[in-house]
Amino acid sequence: MAYTEDDLEKELATKEYKYGFYTDIESETFPIGLNEDIVRAISLKKEEPEWMTNWRLEAFRHWQTMEEPEWANVHYEKPNFQSISYYSAPSKKPKFDSLDEVDPELLDTFKRLGISIDEQKKLAGVAVDIVMDSVSVATTFKKTLAEKGIIFCPISEAIKEHPELVKKYLGTVVPQKDNFYAALNSAVFSDGSFCYIPKGVKCPMELSTYFRINQANTGQFERTLVVADAGSYVSYLEGCTAPSRDENQLHAAVVELIALDDAEIKYSTVQNWYPGNAEGKGGVYNFVTKRGLCEKNAKISWTQVETGSAVTWKYPSCVLKGDNSIGEFYSIAVTNNFQQADTGTKMIHLGKNTKSTIISKGISAGNSQNSYRGLVQINNRAENARNFSQCDSLLMGNKCGAHTFPYIEAKNKSAKIEHEATTSKIGEDQIFYCNQRGIDTEKAIALIVNGFSKEVLNKLPMEFAVEAQKLLEISLEGSVG
């Protein structure tokens, strides 16, 4: 029987979340609700210095005056911020020297996720800073990195051990008061990663962290800060999976990247939070603020593969402050069932000869809504700024929607901006062409979707490309591979 798009649609509708399980690790969880005492308690728990506590409180006080944004093209039941617990950490906090000491149950979790630490250590040469709920429990390859002067540690540790660096850079790209969720994150972030690459150092390995939301009813508020000093290079990977939960879980992370003169940061994400079941029940709310600052000749490149979450609200951005700096954004967003994604980027051109590239691929299936929202802004002093944007959407079935909201603002006459967008379905002639050559419809759809996303997949580091392809396959299971 010929495999048609209708079949694909059916398969997509019934596909279950593969990674839905729950690890029972004794957690230490704060009472639910949010007030100044909770913020103080989090800070105390993390043994933070006073300046940090005040920084959090300032953010919290401002957050109370803010309103939840409603402009995004997503509809969801607003989280009740007083019914969430803001801190959850695995209760045993041993410092491990080797993997043997890690809680076997935890290791098993990672194995089921397909992220075997030892395998990665041996094969991929990846240093993994594993964040289980909110506290980092394992950090590998620290020595190799330390030799080069690279600091890669949980941000809570960085606050204690490298306060001068954290103080100097934290909140410089995403200020505490930037937006509703950034302010919330600034007040209550429990942990995250900190990375500093010294002058002229090329980080010898891909740095990576895996975030997981584990404890029921705990929001995950990660804070990542990556600083690449002059002339340095780092490639940073981030990947997520979350267990199946019926309550909507809130994830409000902040990622700040700072690329000083001539530095380059490559930040890749594979996001596969629990998207909710086929009826649209449950799933993670993913409200993330990611932004990078480029100084002279610096380059920041964001690559993301978004397949999970019930609601995604995410705009990895670049502020191209220095002359000749470069910003790039490559994205694949796949939505299925009742998922909603409103994602895109902002490229703010401030310096001369700045360049930016935006490639966004959206694939919507089922009853999902997929939006691209992007801003390209050329300020009046940004001579010879150059932007190229391309947003393509692929629709499967007529119950889903694809939307494009590009904002293009040019204030300099030497600016060159190109933007193009297309929306279409998989062409019958394309499938026919494959059929003719003996490729069945299922494989043909796989080929075409892969080809559609290739431009972005190619930008991922090797370690991630494999996993990303796997995720695409799972997300569109039945059609791909």
């Binding site: 402009w71 050329i378 009046n380 959407s393 629709l395 499967m396 079935g397 007529n398 119950k399 889903c400 929607g401 694809a402 939307h403 494009t404 909201f405 590009p406 904002y407 293009i408 603002e409 040019a410 204030k411 300099n412 006459k413 030497s414 600016a415 060159k416 901006i417 190109e418 933007h419 193009e420 967008a421 297309t422 929306t423 279409s424 379905k425």
Partner: protein
């Protein structure tokens, strides 16, 4: 007293002289309530993010011209396309000028809305079409509440208007600040055809604020060809709200030429309520000084097998700002849609700016929708090529700009109008290259 309060308080008195039946009064009462609730749009609204009406609505405007205004034909002759035989509907400060006009009731109705709203013989048409196409947004509602005059064009089934129709709005400037709210209703029944040219012109530098609403109904296989010339003085502001209802196999095209005025906002909305429609939206904007032109377009594909083509070109000099906000919506039942949208801009000066927001909202899968947007400069190599052949910088640039705008001009179907617009562009670029014949 701000403008909104003034409008609200003068609403009742403005209705006293009108001899309207109850259903129309109800429509107007409803409309003023909508305006009272919503007020003038502000920059906080997404659709008005880049255009502020503050500088206009803080001024005090007279809502009616108190004097009897007369102008001589020789003074305004240049604003007519006089080498073209047309029907003419001319308004001076919002009041119909019979001696400058040429209307008809011969097979088609080309006359006045005031007549249509009050005379029983038009009631059947008014009941079906008046205020039915326009959505109830604040500015359209404001116009509905005050609407009493404008063009009324009714083309019955199978008729074609034998010559184009010019609609001209002159403001004399006898009032220091005048607000005008013309309202046009154009109905083209099955297989009907009509061509319309519309222009707003102020005759001196006094401020005028026009909030115009045009409703166009295109029946099955009807053809409507509409041209808007916006080349007003530096103190004239225009908000043009045009709402178009298209039935099966109809074709409606709207060309907008924006060359002047202080603030121009075009809300151009196409609703495709039938299959096999074709909607064409084209525009050329060439502005300088502190002028501001905002094109806000919507093409709503509600039925399958339709097409839409949008092509907007803009050239911005000095401190001019341009906005393009184009939206294409495809409903889930509207399969086999071909929607194309293109917006190209050239910034000539460092202080000019352009904000472009081409949006797609697609709910159907078997469609081909694309949009493109560019912002760039004139090709230096092309300029060099011409200079090497003895063409001056200014002329060379003008040639390139003319070429840039040309594919919009090419689709103008009335040769005399095309010549006139070419001439306007040549004047605008201050060159004489012989292309403006």
């Amino acid at each position: 007293m701000n403008l909104k309060d003034k409008l609200l308080s003068s609403y009742l008195t403005s209705q006293e002289h009108l001899d309207l039946d109850n259903s129309l009064h109800d429509i107007k009462d409803e409309a003023i309530k909508v305006f009272e609730e919503k007020g003038f749009p502000s920059k906080k609204q997404e659709d008005w993010k880049y255009t502020s009406l503050n500088s206009i609505i803080k001024q005090d405007f007279s809502l009616v011209s108190k004097q009897e205004d007369t102008i001589e034909f020789k003074d305004v002759k240049k604003y007519f396309i006089h080498d073209l035989d047309t029907y003419k509907i001319v308004f001076i400060d919002g009041v119909y000028s019979s001696y400058l006009s040429e209307t008809t009731h011969d097979g088609v109705d080309v006359c006045l809305l005031s007549a249509a709203l009050t005379k029983p013989r038009y009631k059947a048409v008014i009941d079906v079409y008046f205020n039915k196409i326009a959505p109830q947004d604040s500015l359209t509602s404001l116009n509905t509440a005050f609407a009493k005059e404008g063009a009324y064009i009714y083309v019955p089934k199978g008729k074609a208007v034998n010559k184009p129709i010019q609609i001209l709005h002159f403001s004399t400037g006898n009032e220091a600040n005048l607000m005008l709210q013309p309202r046009n209703l154009i109905v083209a029944e099955e297989n009907a055809e009509v061509q319309i040219i519309e222009r707003h012109q102020s005759l001196n530098g006094n401020a005028v604020f026009t909030n115009s609403v045009t409703e166009i109904y295109a029946g099955k296989r009807a053809m409507v060809d509409y041209y808007k010339i916006q080349n007003d003085k530096e103190n004239a502001s225009l908000i043009d709200n045009t709402h178009i209802d298209q039935q099966d196999s109809s074709e409606v095209s709207v060309h907008t030429f924006s060359f002047g005025g202080k603030l121009t906002r075009n809300n151009l909305n196409f609703y495709q309520n039938g299959e096999h429609n074709n909607s064409i939206l084209k525009g050329v904007t060439i502005i300088e000084d502190k002028q501001h032109v905002d094109h806000n377009t919507l093409v709503h594909h509600k039925q399958p097998n339709c097409e839409s083509h949008q092509d907007y070109k803009g050239i911005f000099d000095d401190n001019a700002t341009g906005v393009f906000n184009g939206k294409v919506v495809v409903d889930s039942i509207a399969q086999k849609i071909n929607a194309y949208q293109s917006n190209n801009n050239i910034l000539v000066s460092d202080k000019a700016s352009i904000n472009s927001k081409p949006q797609l909202e697609i709910f159907a899968d078997d469609v081909r929708c694309s949009h493109g947007c560019t912002i760039g400069q004139l090709d230096e190599d092309a300029l060099f090529y011409m200079r090497a052949r003895g063409i001056g910088v200014k002329e060379g640039r003008a040639l390139l700009m003319y070429a840039f705008a040309n594919n919009v001009l090419e689709s103008v179907k009335i040769p005399q109008l095309k010549a006139r617009i070419t001439k306007l562009i040549a004047n605008k670029l201050e060159v004489n290259l012989g292309f403006d014949v």
